[in-house]
């Protein structure tokens, strides 16, 4: 992954953008942390948050015109959080730290004119930076316009105390007029606060640079001018602080403008989803009011995805981790598991205001892992072997239409595997509708190769399909599986694709067999961008009179069933969590139109119908089909539709075995196929190697591919009964 690619991913994720209150504040006060501390009654801590941004919070916190409040999104949920009131409460209940530390003294003399908030703020900041500050104002105590604020709001003692603080920090009193230029009285710089009524006309607002606070006079800076025609305390303070920054840079001879955009910008790209946030009017008690703050952040995608949640980060962080993963030369690649656990379902991209796609990121990361030879060999192997089987002569093949091929029906390997009967009926129905001019292609579209980053393998496979299609003049593909559709959309763009549902609508639906209950409709994640598919399915449901329920996360925002991206291989727990969350979304039973969604969602307490069940056969599977049955179904389908492949059967295929349900469940979990068991039994028998135990069971073992299988069984007159099976990848030899 190149650095530019990383940057382009990172900048899409807005999780680290400022919350709205902070962005709107000219001083960038962290309203979020402030409310967090206030909500726990930690007033000193809250005051510290203010002090980080505000010079002299004891003044500003009491009189602030709080643009933060205007920006607060809680205004859409009952009312903006009353930050102004909270700041006041905070100041009343806390003492604050002592005199702030100063940097080492610079010996540079700066004159600050005016007693208003901008001058006091400027003086404060300059003193902190170690400069020698001389403050000039009229009267006993400073304040300017602030002196006319009623005592209940801003007691005069506070202003007096602020003066004392500045003096303790080394400020000296100055008397005299504002000089023409700084150099004329040997000042390193001069600040003029026009928020002091006495100096209001000294510099015209339009002569003050909005970024640097420079005025036309050399070395003279100014700020504190009205905003929007009114005096704004927070802007006055901000002006003073920023001008101090400019003065500091000016004195050091550094650029006044570089990297100062952030200080001023009020834009934030943050997006905070408000779904589920209850309406609450503002509360009187400050701690209760602070609790109303929802700690704005995005994490929209994280909230809705168990995978993003599991790794405790958010997309920007993940992009960086993945980038770092590839910069490791030797050593453990920590992000491997994370990269392989994404279901590639695209929900995050849809929710993200900037379309951050974890799917794109993870898929290309997997390709890179494969290219670099660091993809763990076992992680996707089982799924890839399954794909190989689906494309092997026993399970795959094609036939052109009778007279010509108006279209090829491509049911896909999972439909063929899990719904043998329905697939055959569907094919026969379509064949009738096309009057025999329908071709059929059985095999796998290559989705497992695509998802596991094995691009070369995918391209080889696609090449073969292309040949078959070309030989019949590139007719359109009729697809039943939306995952096949996604693969072909990307890798066979020149071939037209049409969903089997659209064909049924166009050419005539068979008689539907709706169920009485309303069914929750689960859109497969690969229909996210295929409105056409989703619409035709709904039209069919309406036509056959099947009541159905739309899920809140359906259509474009549908959730993944856990099968996608081979998530069930790399993190089966995560896939199950996805299923759980999905099924919880409705009390009804479920309905879908992808055979893998159906398989994935089944077996967790709800019945899951497939649309074909409502059109051709009406009894939904109570259990899942399982890996072994899928393979034999594909072979049966091939035989039924295309005849024998010509290959002799494997010698062990005829062996009958008996497996109890509980044992079958364990084999399924361990990815041990019936054919593996049969092969192991047969090979052990021919080699004569087995163990036997007093309780009557036998134990055999065989190496098939990269895996050694062990099978324990009860031999008998009839079919051996399989009691247990396990496997490992390590190879063993005696050490003599």
């Amino acid at each position: 992954m190149e650095k530019e690619e990383l940057k382009s991913y990172e900048q899409r994720c807005i999780q680290e953008e400022l919350p709205f209150c902070q962005a709107a504040c000219p001083l960038k006060v962290d309203g979020r942390s402030f409310c967090a501390a206030m909500a726990e009654g930690r007033f000193e801590e809250a005051r510290k948050v203010l002090s980080r941004a505000m010079p002299l919070p004891e003044i500003l916190g009491r009189i602030c015109d709080h643009p933060c409040q205007e920006a607060c999104v809680m205004s859409e949920r009952g009312g903006a959080v009353a930050l102004g009131k909270l700041e006041r409460s905070c100041l009343e209940r806390s003492r604050g730290a002592g005199t702030p530390l100063r940097l080492p003294l610079t010996g540079k003399r700066v004159a600050v004119f005016g007693g208003g908030l901008s001058s006091l703020s400027c003086a404060f900041e300059l003193l902190k930076k170690g400069h020698d500050v001389f403050l000039a104002f009229d009267g006993e105590i400073p304040g300017g316009r602030l002196l006319s604020i009623p005592d209940e709001i801003l007691p005069k003692e506070i202003l007096g105390a602020a003066q004392q603080t500045l003096e303790r920090m080394g400020a000296k009193r100055l008397f005299g007029e504002v000089p023409e230029g700084a150099g004329s009285q040997n000042w390193s710089a001069v600040y003029v606060g026009v928020d002091d009524p006495q100096l209001a006309d000294h510099v015209s607002g339009k002569d003050i640079d909005t970024l640097t606070y420079e005025t036309p006079s050399s070395g003279v800076f100014s700020g504190g001018y009205p905003r929007g025609g009114r005096a704004s305390p927070v802007w006055e303070s901000a002006d003073g602080k920023r001008a101090a920054n400019s003065i500091d840079r000016f004195i050091q001879g550094a650029s006044l403008t570089s990297e100062r955009g952030r200080e001023i910008s009020v834009e934030t790209r943050l997006f905070t989803p408000l779904e589920g946030v209850p309406h609450f009017p503002p509360r009187d008690d400050p701690v209760e009011e602070a609790k109303r703050c929802i700690r704005c952040e995005c994490r929209y995608c994280v909230r809705e995805c168990p995978f993003l949640e599991k790794y405790k980060g958010y997309p920007k962080v993940y992009a960086r981790e993945i980038y770092n993963n590839f910069s490791i030369v030797k050593g453990v690649h920590q992000a491997n598991r994370m990269i392989n656990s994404c279901a590639l379902c695209g929900l995050c991209e849809t929710l993200c205001p900037n379309d951050f796609s974890m799917a794109d990121l993870c898929r290309s990361a997997r390709e890179e892992m494969v290219k670099k030879g660091i993809m763990p060999p076992s992680i996707h192997e089982f799924a890839l072997l399954d794909m190989e089987h689906a494309n092997s002569p026993r399970a795959a093949g094609s036939r052109a239409g009778k007279r010509r091929t108006k279209a090829f029906f491509f049911p896909g390997c999972q439909l063929a595997g899990t719904m043998l009967e329905q697939t055959e009926k569907l094919y026969q129905y379509l064949d009738g509708v096309f009057q025999g001019d329908l071709g059929i292609m059985l095999g796998c579209c290559g989705a497992p190769a695509w998802w596991s980053g094995r691009r070369e393998s995918l391209e080889g496979l696609i090449g073969k399909l292309e040949q078959v299609l070309r030989s019949e003049g590139n007719p359109p593909l009729i697809l039943a599986c939306p995952s096949c559709n996604e693969v072909f959309r990307n890798y066979l763009p020149h071939i037209d694709r049409i969903s089997v549902w659209q064909v049924l609508l166009d050419k005539g639906l068979p008689e539907g067999r709706p169920v009485d209950l309303p069914l929750a409709l689960h859109d497969p994640c690969t229909t996210r961008r295929e409105q056409g598919w989703r619409d035709s399915v709904r039209e069919i449901l309406q036509k056959i009179g099947q009541p159905f329920e739309e899920l809140s996360f359906g259509g474009e925002t549908t959730r993944c069933c856990g099968y996608g991206g081979l998530q069930y291989m790399s993190d089966p727990g995560l896939a199950v969590e996805g299923v759980r969350r999905r099924l919880k979304e409705s009390d009804n039973e479920f309905l879908t139109y992808c055979s893998m969604c159906r398989e994935s969602l089944s077996g967790h307490g709800k019945r899951v119908f497939h649309l074909l069940d409502l059109l051709f056969v009406s009894s939904p599977l109570e259990k899942t089909t399982g890996f072994s049955q899928r393979r034999s179904n594909r072979e049966t389908l091939r035989w039924n539709l295309l005849g024998s492949s010509g290959l002799p059967p494997e010698p062990w295929e005829e062996q009958r075995i008996s497996i109890q349900d509980s044992v079958r469940a364990r084999l399924e979990e361990r990815h041990i196929l019936e054919s593996d068991i049969k092969q192991t039994l047969w090979e052990a028998r021919s080699k004569g190697r087995f163990l036997f135990s007093p309780k009557g069971t036998s134990l055999v073992s065989s190496r098939i591919g990269n895996v050694t299988f062990w099978v324990e069984y009860l031999p008998g007159d009839g079919a051996p009964e399989i009691v247990n099976a396990w496997s490992h990848r390590m190879t063993l030899e005696l050490v003599e």
């Binding site: 960086r320 770092n324 490791i328 030369v329 030797k330 050593g331 453990v332 920590q334």
Partner: protein
């Protein structure tokens, strides 16, 4: 809490060296210290049972081993002179040593900087510090409160910062994280660690040679 390398089986898995990379990596480390000459005074800080101490003495260095565990020291005493002490308070005069070897000790400290500062104190100017140790793969990660090995492990930038702050200049770095993976696998195999506990899986293992810079007038 017992340290992982105090597990009764640790020795049988990791060998006498006790640390990832074992004796092979110790030999490599000593071999890379080409600036030493015969008779140089070198400290094996955290010498354990003394394998590296023995190696150093074999090459003709005036090496001494230091450890806190009398149990280990008894064994190390057969390899060379040993002294019992703490890394934070090394019983040596300022600028008295030509070299310090520290294999897998810094990552076991709550405050590794403190120990590196001691190393800097006892080393002569241009003295050599040779370290092999765990480092955190997570950029900016914090292992505060982590159990087991590597509670003091920091990320690469953090390590460099500690060295530079104490006046060292890094002249060599090698990444030997694959040895760590081997090591983790063996420990899990032996039942010393459970798969999920092997925190070393998310760490790297590095080798550093650093020279103590000539002192300039302090700021």
């Amino acid at each position: 809490m017992a340290l992982p390398y105090e597990h009764p089986l640790w020795r049988s898995v990791m060998g006498e060296s006790l640390h990832p990379g074992g004796e092979g990596l110790s030999r490599r480390l000593v071999g890379l210290c080409s600036s030493f000459i015969e008779g140089d005074r070198v400290l094996d800080a955290g010498c354990g049972p003394g394998f590296t101490l023995g190696l150093l003495r074999e090459t003709g260095l005036d090496a001494v081993g230091l450890d806190l565990s009398s149990h280990f020291l008894k064994e190390a005493a057969s390899k060379g002179p040993v002294v019992r002490g703490q890394l934070q308070f090394l019983p040596f005069h300022d600028k008295s040593l030509d070299g310090v070897i520290a294999e897998c000790v810094l990552s076991q400290q709550d405050n590794p900087g403190e120990v590196v500062a001691e190393f800097a104190r006892v080393l002569k100017e241009r003295g050599l510090l040779a370290v092999t140790d765990l480092f955190d793969r997570e950029i900016g990660g914090s292992r505060k409160g982590a159990k087991g090995c590597g509670r003091g492990a920091v990320d690469l930038a953090g390590i460099e910062k500690i060295f530079t702050e104490e006046g060292f200049r890094i002249i060599t770095f090698e990444d030997h994280s694959d040895l760590l993976r081997e090591c983790a696998a063996r420990l899990v195999w032996a039942g010393v660690l459970k798969g999920g506990e092997a925190s070393c899986r998310c760490m790297g293992y590095g080798l550093w040679l650093a020279k103590k810079e000539q002192e300039q007038d302090s700021r």
